[in-house]
């Protein structure tokens, strides 16, 4: 008798829990955006939620399929240069720890290792099968002894599929002048700084203690790169250069303040080994669509540079400081985003006294591995209001980008440390 009663009870319990489980899954369907999209302006159908506020200068970011987030800090906070967060199912994350007593920008995950850079070295940490760092206190030193000046000191990193690590070595100079940023100061002939900076260096991903002599100067003539990514479709390195400053303040007789605000373009380059993008001898004029000789090297804003220098694949408005580049390979966003590039423009300062520009994430469509169609502002209003879109007033400044396992787009902010997650919720 008791047994007979038990069966319907068990059955109904089974039905109940099955339904409940499905209800849970449908409720999951991905994290829900915040009501205000964390203040961001996004295209129709997109929303944003605040993953966390870490209260530190958050630079580049890695998100694992298991929902662990690694964030590189520009400056060490409480002896931690990498912050670790764990996501809940609702998309919020808590700080669970940190390691790496060095500031920097670069962080990248590939083939069971987490790579991170200080402003002089690249370290790597072995990951377990849950993509957790096994021994945070004893990383391997992959690269050391890289030059670091006061400006353009960060070392962004990315890996290819053939065992190579690419490191940006920015040059501690604006335009290789005798007196950096000085009035009418000429360029140093030949610019000797190019031998150990102003380019992308290639190293082996698993060889310890490499430095300049073990590395290859993969591409040169790049003043400073912060945003870079490996394009899987083309199997090629793409970088965003931070173009030169101070055309008016160094050369007031040649450039007025308006021209100085609009020149030169911030350029996206597709790199091959041996490429030379021309810094400091030239800059790319995005209005004339020409490579122009730099005033430090005899330019008059019209004279065209040697055609041997690499052309950009896309030129964006001047001084917007591209700090993050990500090729989107996810399935969450609509088809047009697939294989296109997201670029986080940190925001300008060298457009003054003209209004500043940037403080947004741009989408650059790609088709068959080539830029196709005009770029558009994808996520705007990190600054808070249009009036606050300047470096010293902006509430937030977008910096690093990462793609989540579900295809959502993560954006870091190095002003206050807000971590955003942008999702698509229109079906």
């Amino acid at each position: 008798m008791k047994k007979i009663l038990l069966i319907p009870v068990l059955l109904s319990a089974l039905v109940f829990f099955t339904l409940y489980a499905f209800k849970d899954i449908s409720a999951l369907g991905g994290p829900k955006p915040d009501a205000d999209n964390v203040g961001l302006k996004l295209p129709e159908g997109f929303g944003a939620l605040k993953v966390a506020d870490i209260g530190a200068k958050a630079r580049h970011i890695v998100v694992t399929p298991q929902g662990t987030i690694y964030i590189k800090l520009a400056r060490v906070k409480d002896e931690k240069g990498i912050i670790v967060l764990k996501e809940n199912s609702d998309g919020r994350a808590q700080i669970t720890g940190g390691f790496g007593n060095y500031g920097g920008t670069g962080i990248y995950m590939k083939d069971g290792y987490l790579y991170a850079s200080s402003n002089k070295e690249v370290f790597r940490y072995k990951l377990n099968d849950k993509n957790e760092v096994i021994d945070p206190n004893n990383p391997e030193i992959i690269v050391k002894g890289l030059k670091m000046g006061r400006q353009h000191e960060t070392k962004s990193i990315v890996l290819d599929n053939d065992g190579n690590l690419y490191v940006n070595i920015g040059v501690p100079s604006n335009s290789c002048q005798v007196q950096d940023r000085g009035l009418r100061s000429p360029g140093i002939p030949g610019c000797p700084l190019l031998d150990s900076a102003a380019g992308i260096w290639q190293f082996k991903k698993d060889k310890l203690n490499q430095s300049y002599s073990e590395g290859v100067r993969y591409a040169t003539g790049l003043r400073n790169v912060v945003g870079l990514d490996w394009n899987q479709q083309n199997n090629q390195l793409y970088v965003m250069q931070h173009g030169r400053d101070n055309l008016n303040s160094s050369w007031p007789e040649i450039y007025d303040t308006k021209e100085s605000a609009e020149l030169p373009a911030e350029c996206l380059y597709a790199l091959k080994k041996g490429d030379n993008a021309g810094w400091p001898f030239m800059y790319y004029d995005g209005l004339q669509h020409k490579k122009i000789v730099a005033p430090e090297y005899g330019g008059d804003k019209k004279k065209e540079a040697d055609p041997k220098y690499l052309d950009p694949v896309v030129a964006y408005p001047a001084h917007m400081a591209p700090n993050g580049l990500l090729f989107y390979t996810g399935n969450m966003f609509p088809e047009k985003y697939k294989n296109g590039a997201f670029i986080a423009f940190h925001g300008s300062w060298n457009r003054a006294p003209e209004p500043q520009k940037g403080f947004f994430v741009v989408f650059q469509p790609f088709k068959n591995g080539k830029p196709s169609g005009d770029w558009e502002i994808f996520a705007d209003n990190f600054a808070g209001t249009p009036e606050k879109a300047s470096m010293n007033k902006a509430d937030h400044r977008p910096c690093g980008l990462a793609q989540g396992a579900d295809g959502s787009l993560y954006v870091t902010d190095d002003a206050k440390g807000t971590i955003y997650r942008i999702v698509y919720n229109k079906k």
Binding site: R150, Q151, L183, N246, S249, T257, W349, N350, A352, P353
Partner: protein, 149 residues
């Protein structure tokens, strides 16, 4: 009695002021310069031409790159150090009020004594700053001392 006290008070404060000035710099102890409208106007012009590109129209600078000119001892404090920043630039990367700044400030020794005095007087009395002006004599003395070295 009250009058005597007042005189004493004036004398002591005057004395403190004088001794502070002589301690601060060995250059001629010029009287704190009154910042006139003409000085402010000229200073603003110089600022727009040579300073604004990096320090911004509101003097607030650029985080991590170019230091602010507001509420900082570099602007409001020791005049000698301030005048030397204009003459020699600043490329040491030192911490300024707890933050570091990456960009080099090139020397602006091509500016005339009058231009430096005016622009510094302008900066010390703009963006919420309130401090005494800087005289041509003060700039001249420090420039002379630098070139003697």
């Amino acid at each position: 009695m009250k009058r005597v006290l007042m005189i004493l008070l004036i004398l002591t404060t005057g004395g403190i002021k004088l001794s502070a000035q002589t301690k601060g710099k060995k250059a001629p102890a010029a009287k704190p310069k009154v910042v006139t409208g003409a000085v402010m106007a000229n200073g603003k012009k110089i600022y727009g031409q040579y300073c604004l590109a990096c320090h911004m129209a509101d003097g607030a600078g650029v985080p991590n790159m170019n230091p602010p000119l507001t509420k900082t001892s570099y602007v409001l404090g020791d005049k000698t150090r301030l005048i030397n920043v204009i003459l020699n630039g600043l490329a040491t990367g030192e911490e300024i009020d707890g933050e570091t700044y990456t960009n080099i400030m090139p020397p602006h020794n091509f500016l005339k004594d009058q231009e430096i005095a005016d622009v510094l007087s302008f900066v010390r009395n703009s963006f919420g700053n309130k401090a005494g002006g800087i005289s041509v004599a003060e700039v001249k003395a420090i420039r002379a001392k630098n070139t003697k070295k």
